[in-house]
């Protein structure tokens, strides 16, 4: 007789009774719960009852017009800088792995330079470029001017921030993408080459999609980081969330209150991004796991149904939700 759970239809009596044992007690879990709750309560109490604290101001500014406008600008900065970062990062990573030494070297230099200088300095550089180059012109040899503009018109404070954040991000993304590309097994490249696919086609259709599974989690991390780093656009006087917070608190001196307002919004936005990241990762996991992991909603529903479910009994239990539809 083979050992293991009885096959459907086999006599139920063959399976021994399910184990009923008294679980191990965890007294320290209760103690630590009490300690943590006490500390959190104390901290909240201190802030709520702080003598200089004006919760009314927090409430007033949380949905204030200037703050909401600042949020829109912060989101614009984040999205645009990440788009530049990801696109240019992929290009740089592919260039870095190119057999053409010049192309590979250009990419190496780019990463070395933009990763090696602070992003704050880079934003500052673009913002102040007009002080040394008042005009930017593009002309072909022979004197014909294709394009001519004042640097201040061309690089607005917003553009300066986008350039600083985006070009810096591209250097980091290039390394993330490169790590993803080299994580794909070489046999994949060979199989694709054997089918007659060109280098770029192999990269685009075979290697890059598989590398995404490795690329996406750190990219989500970078996006969340970018949302907060975009506050450096402050130095270019871009009216994003932190700039707005500064402007308001400079006028009314509710510094901590406005810091709390900004923190609530930054936390809210990063929380939404975290959820989004989960779903993107799930999409790129297809083909690597036999079944996709459950979404949080599915897991919650499953928990509601199975939390109080009785321990598995011998014999078929038709009412349990099936894991394999």
């Amino acid at each position: 007789m083979p050992v293991g759970p009885p096959l459907p239809g086999s006599p139920a009596g063959l399976r021994p009774e399910a184990i009923k044992a008294i679980p191990v007690r965890h007294p320290w879990r209760w103690v630590s719960t009490v300690v943590v709750v006490a500390i959190v309560a104390e901290v909240i109490y201190i802030f709520v009852t702080a003598p200089g604290m004006s919760w009314g101001a927090v409430q007033q500014y949380l949905f204030g017009r200037l703050i909401l406008q600042g949020i829109v600008v912060t989101l614009e900065l984040t999205v645009l800088a990440m788009v530049i970062g990801v696109v240019l990062g992929v290009v740089m990573a592919v260039m870095r792995l190119s057999p053409n030494p010049v192309v590979s070297w250009v990419s190496w230099f780019y990463i070395w330079f933009f990763r090696g200088t602070p992003v704050l300095v880079q934003i500052f550089f673009w913002y102040n470029l007009a002080s040394i180059l008042p005009h930017i012109a593009l002309s072909i040899p022979g004197g014909h001017v294709l394009f001519h503009a004042s640097t201040n018109d061309l690089i607005s404070p917003f553009t300066a921030a986008i350039l600083g954040l985006g070009l810096n991000e591209a250097a980091y993304m290039a390394e993330i993408v490169r790590a993803g590309l080299i994580s794909v097994e070489h046999g994949q490249t060979e199989a694709a080459q054997a089918l007659g696919m060109t280098r770029l086609l192999v990269m685009r259709r075979i290697v890059l999609p598989q590398a995404m599974r490795v690329i996406v989690p750190p990219t989500g991390n970078e996006t969340i980081s970018m949302l907060k780093t975009s506050s450096l656009a402050f130095v270019a006087t871009v009216p994003e969330l932190f700039t707005r917070q500064e402007q308001i608190s400079n006028a009314n001196f509710d510094v901590i209150e406005l810091a709390i307002v900004a923190s609530i919004w930054y936390l809210a936005m990063t929380s939404i991004l975290t959820v989004g990241q989960y779903y993107v990762e799930r999409y790129f996991a297809r083909g690597t796991q036999r079944e996709l992991p459950l979404t949080p909603l599915q897991r919650f529903r499953r928990m509601l149904f199975t939390f109080h479910a009785p321990p598995p009994q011998a014999g078929p239990v038709p009412s349990l939700p099936s894991q394999h539809p």
């Binding site: 994949q188 199989a191 694709a192 054997a194 598989q210 083909g287």
Partner: protein
């Protein structure tokens, strides 16, 4: 179909191929056997230019692999030409190397769509009939990790066939399979040889397959062809001591 003359190949200081001479004729099934490290897989990979040869001449269908000859001078082929030539040669790998992010159908239709610029509907119809041919009509939407090793290898064969190759290379196609799954892959290969009259070069350890399906058998050791001939004759009556030693261990 394939002609090798004094083919040499080194990896750094290690000389893996030390003068291979052989010829594969159209519709021939050639099986290559030999101990590991004998250079048989490397030779196979040279045929579709996954490896570059250092010396000698290697040609497929009368055209040099990787070079063009004009006068007495060899010119390296540009990437595009190499890709075009590879697309006419099918290859099946020991580790299957299916694309894990694509279903069985997508794996097969990918190269016809991207390389041959076939329309998606035509490519998918062809992929379906190929899946049927390898006995996996019901696995159209399965991802590789939902398939057994034997099924994956059959999809890999279908994927190679989708490019309508004039030559198929098999690099130990059953070595990574559980023993009970070897048969289904060999059956598909046998059908290829018998029904389609496909020209095949098979690096293998399956002596039964070599005897039944192979038209010729090559024993390689130390980067050279030690012995070649009709499979039954070589297996039953090896002429060289080294062949005898090897066969006594694997038969």
């Amino acid at each position: 179909m394939v002609k090798a003359e004094a083919v040499h190949k080194s990896f750094g200081r290690l000389e893996v191929l030390r003068g291979i001479d052989l010829e594969v004729y159209p519709k021939e099934v050639m099986c290559i056997i030999g101990p590991s490290g004998s250079g048989k897989s490397t030779f196979l990979r040279c045929i579709n230019h996954l490896e570059k040869i250092d010396a000698g001449r290697l040609s497929v269908d009368g055209e040099l692999v990787g070079y063009r000859e004009r006068g007495n001078q060899l010119y390296e082929l540009p990437d595009r030409e190499i890709c075009r030539k590879r697309s006419e040669i099918g290859m099946v790998f020991q580790r299957f190397n299916l694309f894990p992010h694509m279903t069985a159908l997508e794996n097969i239709a990918e190269a016809p769509i991207q390389v041959k610029k076939m329309s998606r509907s035509t490519a998918e119809a062809q992929a379906r009939s190929l899946l049927e041919r390898v006995g996996l009509a019901d696995k159209v939407k399965a991802y590789p990790n939902q398939l057994s090793g034997g099924q994956q290898q059959r999809v890999a064969i279908a994927r190679a066939l989708a490019m309508e190759p004039k030559l198929m290379l098999f690099d130990e196609p059953t070595s990574a399979l559980d023993p009970e799954l070897v048969g289904e892959v060999l059956d598909v290969m046998r059908a290829l040889a018998n029904d389609l009259g496909m020209t095949m070069v098979v690096v293998t350890h399956e002596m039964g397959f070599a005897r039944e399906v192979g038209d010729s058998l090559v024993f390689m050791d130390g980067g050279v062809v030690v012995e070649a001939g009709k499979p039954r004759e070589v297996l039953a009556n090896p002429q060289h001591e080294r062949t005898r030693q090897f066969l006594s261990k694997v038969l």
